[in-house]
Amino acid sequence: MFRNYLAAALRNLTRNGLYAGITIAGLAIGFAAAILIGLYVRHELTYDQFVPGHGQVYLVNLKITGAIDQPINEDTTTADLADQLKLDFPQIQYTARLIGTGFPPAVRRGDINVGEQNFIWADPDVFKVMPVPAVAGDPATALEAPDAVVLSRSGARKYFGRDAPIGGVLQVDGHPMRVTAVIEDLPSNSHLRGDVFGSSKAAFSAISQYGRGGALSNVVATYIRLKPGASGPEMQAELPGFVAKRIMPAINEQAPNEHLHEVFTLKPLTSIHLETASGDLKPGADVKVLAGIAVIGVLIVLVAAINFVTLMTARASRRAVEVGVRKAVGAERRDLIVQFMGEALVYVAIALVVAVALAELVLPGVNAALQRKIAFDYLSDLPLLASMIAVAAGVGLLAGIYPALVLSAFRPALVLKGGPIEGAGGARVRQLLVVAQFAVLITLVLSTLTIYRQTVFALKDATHTDKDQVVMLFASPCTDTLRDAVRALPGVVGAGCASPYAISFGDTIDEITTGGRLLTTHFAPVDFGFFEVYGVKPLAGRLFEESRPGDDAARTGATAPPIVVNQSFVRALGLASPQAALGHQIVWHYRPNFRLAQNDAPAPPSASSEIVGVVPDFTFGSARDLIPPTYYYVAAKNDLVTSVVLNIKLDPSRVAETLPAIDRVWDRTSGGLPVQRFFADQFLLRLYIDTLIQGAFIAVCALIAVSIACLGLFALSAYTAERRTKEIGVRKAMGASSGDILKLLLWQFSQPVLIACLVAWPIAWLAMNWWLQGFAYRVDLAPWTFLASGAAAVVIALATVLAHAWRVSRAKPVGALRYE
C-alpha cells in the first residue's frame, strides 16, 4: 500500500513539474533562509562560551549618575580598579585589563607598515582569565616581559608569513617588541577582536599612558576570574561597600560639586555581547533586534508553509478522480489523510535537502556581509541537525494536514460524475493565506524603507555638517606644521585640526558657572578652520579667527581664550536666542596644558571666558544620542587629547592628485608612521555598521519573502485562471472583451493585496516606531512609504499574475465553454 502511495506521490510530482517545482522551491528558499537566520541567532547568543570556565569570568561595568546631562554606562573603569579589587576580594583568582579601542598603534615589520586595527594592549594574566588554545609558546606567561607581544595565527601569517615566529620582532609605534607566543584565531563569537596582544607593561602601552588618568579616567576594560567555587553574585553584593570605601573618596576630591555616584556591576563574560555598553571591544548585539530577526525567520517559514498549503489545495481538483476511485474501492478517509500527509512530507524532505545545499552555497557571502565566521556543520552538529529535521517535519505535518483534510473529504459519487469539486470555503481560506503572505511582505518592505531612510538621515542630515569631500587624517598630535603644509597644497580648500572630542571620538565634561548657575557641559578643543571645513556657520557672533591672537590658547598662556558654544548650550543657559548668548561670561576650568595623563592633578583653577559665537548643534556621533551642550575653544596642540585629526576639505575636481600629495606631506613630516586617513562620511559610517547590517538583512528577507510569495501567487493564478475558464467563457459569450476579463482578474488578485496593506500597515508602524525610538534624531514615518510599499506589493502581485490573466482573457470563449 505504501508503495502505491509513494508511486502516486512521485508520479504526481513529476507530472505536475511546474507546480511541484514551485512548491518545493518556495519551501526550500524559506527553509534555507530560516537555517541561516537560525545559525546567525545562535551565533549571537553563544558569545564567549568557548572560553573554558566562562562562568567564573566577569567584566566590570560602571554606571555613573550625578549632576551630568546623561547617566554614563560603560564597560571601562580606571586602570587602578583591578588592583584595588584584588586587594579587597580574596575570591578573585586573576585580573586582566585591556585597551582595544582608540587609535590603532602603528605596527611595522619589513615592508608591512599599518595601523593595526586588531591590536589589544593587555595585562599578562589575560590568557589566564580567558584561556585560548596555543599554537606556539605559553600564552599564560607570554606577556610578562614589557616588550612581549602575542599574535593570533592570522596575525603571525600577516606579519611573518608563518605560524610560529617565536622571537620575531615587530616595531610597535617605533618600539621593538618580541613575539613570545602564538594563539589560535579567536572565534567570531568572541567579544574580542585581537590579532596582536601587546604587554601592558610596556612603558608606551595605552594602559601605561592612560592609566595615570585618575579617579575619573575610565579607559580600561577590567576582567576578573573568580576562584573555582566562588560566587559572582556574592561578590556583587559586596561591591557597594567597596565603592563607598575605596572609590568615592577619590572621586569626591576630584569633582566635589558634581554629586557623582558610581555603581559597579559584574557582567558575566557570556553576556557582554548582548548587554552592550560604551567601551566594548566589538559592537554588541541588541537582544530585541535579534528577537526581531528570529521573528522574521519564523515569518519566512510561515510564508513558505502558506505557499505549500495554497498550492496543495489548489491542485486538489486534479487529484479528485484519484480520491474518488480510491474511496469507491474502499479507502477510508483516514487512509487518504495518511496518504496526503505522506506526500506533504515527501515534498518537505526534498525541500530540506535543497535548502541545506542552498544554505551552504550562500553562507560564505552571509559571513562576509555580517563579518562573522559562522559554521554550518550539520553532520557533526547534532542539535542543529535535529532541529532542522524537527522544524521541517513540523512544517510538513502542519502544512500537510489542511490539504489532506480537504482532499480526503471529496465525495466519490460527486467527483466521479465530474460535479463541483469544492465550495467557496476553500477559496476563502486561500485568499486569507495570500493576505497573510502579502502582509508579511509589505511589513518587511516598509521596515527596509524606514531603516534605509533613517540611516541616510543619520549619516547626512542628523549630523548638521557638510562632510562632502572632507578627508580626516589622523595624527597624534595634529600640529600647526602639518596643517600649514597641507593647506599649502593646490587641491586643498581648507584644513583644521581637531581634538577627539570635537569629532565625537570619546567625550569629556566640565563643570561651568555662569550668573551663579552651575552646569555640567561637554567641551571640545578645536583649531582655526575646523568649523569652516565642515560648513558650520555661526548663528550669531563669529567663529575663531587666526588674525586675532587672543583666540589662540597656545598664545594666551594662562589667560582663558574666548569660546564658541552650540545651540544646546544656549538652551541649557535658558536663553531665548543665540544672539542673547553673545558676550556672556562663562567660568570654566581652563588648563593651558591640557593633557589626559595629568588629569590627576588637582582641578585647575577657574577662569572666565566670553562667548563670541554660537554655532548650530552638530555632531560626529550617533543619531542615537542627543547632541549635548558643548563649548569649543582653540587649544594648544600638545598631544592626541587636544589635537588628533586634521580635517581637510578638498577641491572636488582635484581629489585624485590631492590625496597622494597629502600622503607625501605625511611621509615627510610623520617620521615613518603609517598614514591613516578616511573620508569623513566613511568615518561616520562605522557608527551605523549594525544598522546597515540590519537594513541589508531585512531587505534580503523581504526579497526572499517576495520571491516565495510570488512563486505561490504565480501558481495560484495559473490554477485560478484554469478553474474559472467556464465563468470567463460565459462572460465572453455575454460580450465581455478581453480587456474586461483582464480587468476582472487583475482586480480580483489585487483585493487580497489591498487587504494585506490594511493588516500590515499598523503592524509595520508599531514595529518601526519602536525601532526609531532608539534614535534621538530620527525621520518621521512618512505616509508615502506606506503607500509606496502597498503600491509595490500590488505591482508585484499583478506582474506575477499578469501572464496567466492575459492568456486566459485572450482565449476564445468556445474553448472555455466546451471545457465544461
Binding site: 467556464k726 460565459v730 459569450a733 455575454m734 460580450g735 465581455a736 472583451s737 476564445k812 466546451r818 465544461e820
Partner: protein, 226 residues
C-alpha cells in the same frame, strides 16, 4: 438576416484533422424560430458556435445582419455578440459565485447599461421567466428547471435580435422543458430570431422550420406550419 454561404469548419490538432462542417449554406430570416436536429457529432454545436460568433468558419462567408463576419477579429465579434445575441446552454453555464440576479445582470454589464436601468431590466426579465422570488439565491440552490429559466432570463434581458439555444431542455424534465420552450416561442413571436438545437421532435415542432444535419452537412429542411 443570417446567411451562411458554403461554410466549412475544420478543427486541427497536431495529429487529427476533423471536418466538423462541410459546405453548409442556409438562410434564417428575422423573427424565425429554427430547430437544428441531428445525431451526436453531426456538427450541431459547431454550427451554433459559428452562428453565435463564438467561433469563425474555416471557409465560406457568414452574413450576420448584413455584414460578412467570417474574417472579423475577436474584438469585433465580441462587439456584435454583445449587442445582438443571447445564449441559452444545455448545461446552463451560470456562474456559481454570483446570485441569480447577478448572473442575469452579467449580460448587461458589458453593454454599458447604467446601474439603475440594469436593476430594473434584470427584475423584469426574472419576472418574465417566473423566478423573481429567487433573485438572491445562488445557482446551486435552484433546481435544473429554475436554473435554465435564469439562463433564459439572461438571454432575454439584453433584448437581443438572435437567441441561440443549445439543447435548452436537454437536462430538464417535461414540465420544465415545456415552460422553457414557451418562453422561446414568446420571444420569437416578439420578433427575435431563435435558433435551437434539440433532439426532441416534440420540441422541434414548436419551431417554424427544422434543419437536419448529418456528418457536417445539411441533409434535410422541413418547413412546419408557422
Amino acid at each position: 438576416m443570417l446567411k451562411l454561404e458554403h461554410v466549412s469548419k475544420v478543427y486541427r490538432t497536431s495529429e487529427v484533422e476533423t471536418l466538423a462542417l462541410s459546405d453548409v449554406s442556409l438562410e434564417i430570416g428575422g423573427g424565425e424560430f429554427v430547430a437544428i436536429m441531428g445525431p451526436s457529432g453531426c456538427g450541431k454545436s459547431t454550427l451554433m458556435n459559428l452562428l453565435g460568433l463564438l467561433d469563425s468558419p474555416s471557409e465560406g462567408a457568414y452574413w450576420f445582419f448584413g455584414e460578412d463576419v467570417a474574417r472579423y477579429s475577436e474584438a469585433r465579434l465580441t462587439g456584435l455578440r454583445r449587442d445582438r445575441i443571447g445564449f441559452v446552454f444545455q448545461s446552463f453555464n451560470l456562474i456559481d459565485d454570483l446570485t441569480v440576479a447577478e448572473n442575469v445582470e452579467v449580460a448587461l454589464l458589458y453593454r454599458k447599461v447604467p446601474g439603475p436601468e440594469r436593476k430594473r431590466r434584470v427584475r423584469e426579465a426574472l419576472e418574465r421567466v417566473g423566478i423573481a422570488h429567487r433573485a438572491s439565491h445562488r445557482p446551486q440552490q435552484l433546481s435544473g428547471g429554475q436554473q435554465q429559466r435564469v439562463a433564459v432570463a439572461r438571454a432575454l434581458v439584453s433584448e437581443p435580435k438572435l437567441i441561440l439555444a443549445d439543447e435548452p431542455t436537454g437536462n430538464l424534465d417535461t414540465a420544465n422543458g415545456e415552460a422553457v420552450m414557451a418562453l422561446l416561442s414568446d420571444a420569437a413571436k416578439a420578433g427575435v430570431t431563435v435558433v435551437m438545437v434539440t433532439h426532441s421532435l416534440t420540441q422541434a415542432a414548436s419551431a417554424h422550420r427544422t434543419i437536419k444535419l448529418l456528418d457536417g452537412r445539411v441533409v434535410a429542411e422541413t418547413l412546419l406550419a408557422a
